[in-house]
Amino acid sequence: MSERIKKETLPSHGKRVPAYVWVTLGVTLLTLLLHAIGMSGDLVNVALIYLFPVLVSAVYWGMGPAVYAASFSVIMFDFFFVPPYLSFTVEDLRYLISFVVYLAVAILTASLAGRLRQQLEMVKAREATTNSLYALSRQMTAITDLNTLLVNIATQVSLTLGKPAAVYLPDGQVDLLVTSSPASTSEGEKDGWGDGESEIAIAKWVYHHGQIAGKGSSTLRESPGLYVPLRTEEQIHGVLAVSMDAGEVHEQQEQLRLLEACGGLAAGAIARVKLAEEARLAQITAESERIRTALLDSVSHELRTPLTAIIGSATGLLENDALFTPEDRRELTGNIRDGALRMNRLVTNLLGMVRLESGMLQLNRKWCDVGDIISVVLTQVRGFSPHRNIQVELPDDPAFIYGDEVLLEQVLVNIISNAIKYSPDESRIVITVTSDKSLSQLMIWVADQGIGIPEAERTRIFDKFYRSESTQHVTGTGLGLAICKGIVEVHGGTIVAEPNPGGGTRMRINIPMEAHGLRFPYSEQGEVEE
């Protein structure tokens, strides 16, 4: 407790000299005032009035100035009001007893007032510490990214203590990494504190021994920094270090305590983020496990079926060539081609999924004409849709979107192929493109008159490898729509399946027409026709 008091009074060190000046001035003025209004006869009241400066200095400046005020007041009282006037000699020796009593009362009052003041300051300081710890803990809980967290801890600690701080985290097995070390704003020359070899060496020692070291602690007290291990119950996560000034020992003790509290908070936060990360990894592992199983099932079936057809037809042709009529031969070779095409689709989708999953998918964004994309898609799907009536309704103005045309084309190929796959021969497929300039959104509808999708499955069909129960008889891997969703979302758009008012399914793709605030950079050039 006394250390805390010392610490809190320390900053007033420099103010003490003006305090004495103020006391001197105040008492002198009071004396002049009392003298002027002729209170010299009323000794008791004058003595009581002289208690004021003592109380005031006790409350505002503490013990020292209060005692000084008391002593100075006694001298003034004696000199100006106790007969003989204007002399330090005392006529009646009983006055001496009064002086002693006055001094004792003054000192007692002063010490009481001073203690009150100190307690107030202590409470204030505690509140400040609690506040900064509270701010720190509140910030810690909101952050889920380890790096941001570390930068935040260092900044917050550095702000609280007014000194550069650094956080060290283990890097793999051997090395400790300074993850962040922002210098306190006032001390520019200390930029990058904590990068030095000796500092890292001490941090390593602290990390491995789990003990506090540095200035103000029992170990390595000659070091300019203070190092606190970030410890939770099970393990040490890292080291928090603060550069200390050459302050007094008590001050360091106080900061040590604060730093330990910060360290505890930081350790908890780091542990939380690490656990969250581990949980996420575990979830990803489980998910990839599930996908791997689904992939194996799907691949073994989807790949083997066309392979069987290809191998069977090819060996048939090779071995029994003479047996087949020209029509048989055509049929078998057609079989081979269809099987190979089917395998090609599967491989394309698998590759697309891998690219999407691994984050390798880089958008090659350009301004593209949606009508153009649809025309390319139609030439691709016409090959396997001889009996569908495909209609396209485009807006009058060409609609441009800023996107990757090859990927968007893949989306539409998948969607339109699905519409063909799940709808009967001779049925109608309508592709409608509309643009909403005010929302800066482009909408593409692909409506078919097929079997439709039960409501419960309308979101699930976009999951990887999800195949609807009702469509098990149609070949497919359940990858196409998942890829579509991935691509559309990378473009910042959405894709949903809706029931088509006329029966069947309607897929709606919404894509922002602008990206990053870019507008289609074209205005009519005003070219004159020849």
Partner: protein
């Protein structure tokens, strides 16, 4: 549509299976086939055999297909059709800009490849100073700078006309966005100006009464460029 019989084709591909496939089918189409399995040898063969057309695989081990293309283009204007795997968008453009005449993606249909070979061979045979290009009901008169569709004059802006000229005089052949920008706007263009192409192609299509979703003349090769369709002929 019969290609020149007996045209000599050099296949540079490291996959024996693809070479065999090409050899069997192209010979069945009356072409004379030469083949080799690596790029270095391919360059030498190209100078010894003097083929009428080269089919070049981009994914060669050792000397890459792009390098082979560059070496051959140093001294020869022989048509080169590049074989690529579909997802190498950038490679296709680089190959076309680097002097290839066309590309075919793997896996490819034989009919498509043979059609491309015929177009490329005919393109060489065609005299380039032919002043009037005819495609069905569309006539482009290069001497008069006039375009007629179904007997009526089509009014085009200078830029639209230049684009049509470049595309039509390379009919059947793919023109990359960069080539088109270069030939129409000259040197002062930027890669990112490709959206102008889209706008002008849109205008051009409208003036040629073309359904953009089912083009008669100008076909978009997504991500790469445009091709003036020969089938309109």
């Amino acid at each position: 549509m019969n290609g020149p019989l007996g045209a000599r084709i050099l296949v540079i591909d490291d996959e024996p299976q693809i070479r065999k496939l090409l050899k069997v089918t192209l010979q069945a189409h009356q072409f004379e086939l030469h083949e080799c399995g690596d790029g270095e040898e391919g360059v030498i063969q190209a100078s010894i055999v003097h083929p009428d057309l080269i089919i070049l695989d981009l994914g060669l081990p050792g000397m890459s297909g792009m390098e082979v293309l560059r070496r051959i283009r140093e001294w020869s204007q022989v048509p080169i059709i590049v074989l690529t795997a579909k997802d190498q968008e950038g490679d296709k453009i680089a190959a076309l800009d680097g002097g290839a005449d066309d590309y075919v993606t793997k896996p490819f249909g034989m009919g498509e490849l043979v059609a491309r070979i015929r177009v490329a061979l005919r393109h060489v045979a065609k005299t380039t100073d032919e002043p009037i290009l005819r495609f069905g009901s569309l006539t482009v008169d290069l001497a008069q700078r006039q375009v007629e569709l179904e007997g009526t004059l089509v009014k085009l802006t200078p830029t639209e006309y230049e684009m049509l000229k470049v595309l039509a005089s390379n009919a059947g052949k793919i023109i990359t966005q960069r080539q088109l920008l270069q030939q129409v706007w000259g040197g002062h263009h930027h890669e990112s100006d490709s959206h102008y192409l889209r706008v002008y192609v849109g205008h051009l299509r409208k003036k040629l009464n073309e359904d953009p979703t089912n083009p008669r003349y100008i076909q978009t090769e997504p991500g790469i460029g445009y091709r003036f369709l020969l089938s309109a002929e």
